[in-house]
Symmetry: C2
Subunit: 206 residues, 2 copies
């Protein structure tokens, strides 16, 4: 539908529309991050993006649509995590930590990850997005030949450390990890992730 409107020129050249939409998404992320989802209105997003509120409705239908568009991770995030799922099993811990730090060290991806995490604080649908991204993708990293229960527990352990690293280093900026270079953080954390992926977890045998 937007294609044909664009072809008819009703809303300006395609590129211009893309630029305005991206400005709206940036404004939405910024407000979700600083105020939370609940107290962000379509109008406040439109005001910050300097566009008419009807344009926001036209592009994203409603606040839920805006949230989903604003928190959609770029393809290179998914492909980075996917690549770590394809790494040899004994290098997968390092690969996963490296892919996550690379995503956070890319400003545009980091803005989306941060907005996801902070919006999830107060908004169940943002929480659901986060659950999908972290939980399901991380399960893919665990060896597929393992029993399903064990895969889920190993994935849960991996998620707890990967998310805790993201929170302390990038979101809350708590503690010494925020001041260390990424390659040092990878060397410190990767053995833990590798242990959760392939180490002996006696609790799972009993």
């Amino acid at each position: 539908m937007s294609e044909s409107k664009s072809a008819r020129g009703q809303r300006g050249p395609r590129e211009e529309r893309g630029v305005a939409a991206e400005r709206v998404l940036q404004a939405a992320r910024s407000l979700f991050t600083t105020r939370g989802f609940a107290s962000t209105s379509l109008r406040s997003v439109a005001d910050l993006a300097d566009v008419d509120v009807s344009l926001v409705s036209y592009y994203f239908t409603n606040k839920r649509g805006l949230l989903e568009a604003a928190l959609t991770l770029p393809p290179n995030f998914a492909s980075g995590v996917q690549a770590s799922a394809n790494a040899p099993i004994d290098e997968r811990g390092r690969a996963l930590v490296t892919a996550n730090l690379a995503a956070w060290d890319d400003t545009s991806t980091a803005d989306i990850l941060r907005a996801s995490i902070l919006a999830a604080a107060n908004e169940p649908s943002a929480m659901e997005l986060l659950r999908t991204v972290y939980s399901s993708r991380i399960v893919d990293v665990v060896a597929s030949h393992l029993p399903e229960d064990e895969r889920q527990v190993r994935a849960g352990l991996v998620a707890s450390q990967i998310l805790g690293l993201a929170m302390t280093r990038y979101v809350w900026k708590i503690g010494a990890l925020k001041d260390l270079p990424s390659d040092v953080v990878v060397r410190l954390i990767a053995p833990t992730i590798q242990h959760y992926l392939t180490g002996s977890l006696e609790e799972l045998d009993s």
Copy 2:
């Protein structure tokens, strides 16, 4: 001051005042959790607690005072974490995880911890409280004879795993750890914490 007012009976028996104040604090935590700090007004807290807004001001002065009172952790949280700092060094990982899970499994403490974490999403002063609780207390758990730089890095690693566990298991309820009994989670996570406390971290030697 409130002591003498109480003695003069102007605001009712002491116990009644304590009950009203606690109701206000519970209402504040609930609104900080669901709406965030920024969009919570003294009036909305008073309405939810079913007290006059002037009483909220009288007890807590302003929104900052209310935040601080609402997010003050009970003494048994501090003493639990402190006890783990005094455990023999090779049992300290398990002691710290056990103390944290015990705190989260106690509803009244969990409400405060959850409100702290969610308020920190949008409110710098809540973030500062969280930083103090987690960062400084966790440094105490690391062996005091170690060089300061190393202590800080080890504490940062511990914080990343302890906070990530809290977020995934109790706040976001992501992944399989939320469904496991506490003693199993302790056995799964304690070796990681112990490694961060006392294990060989080659990166720190180079």
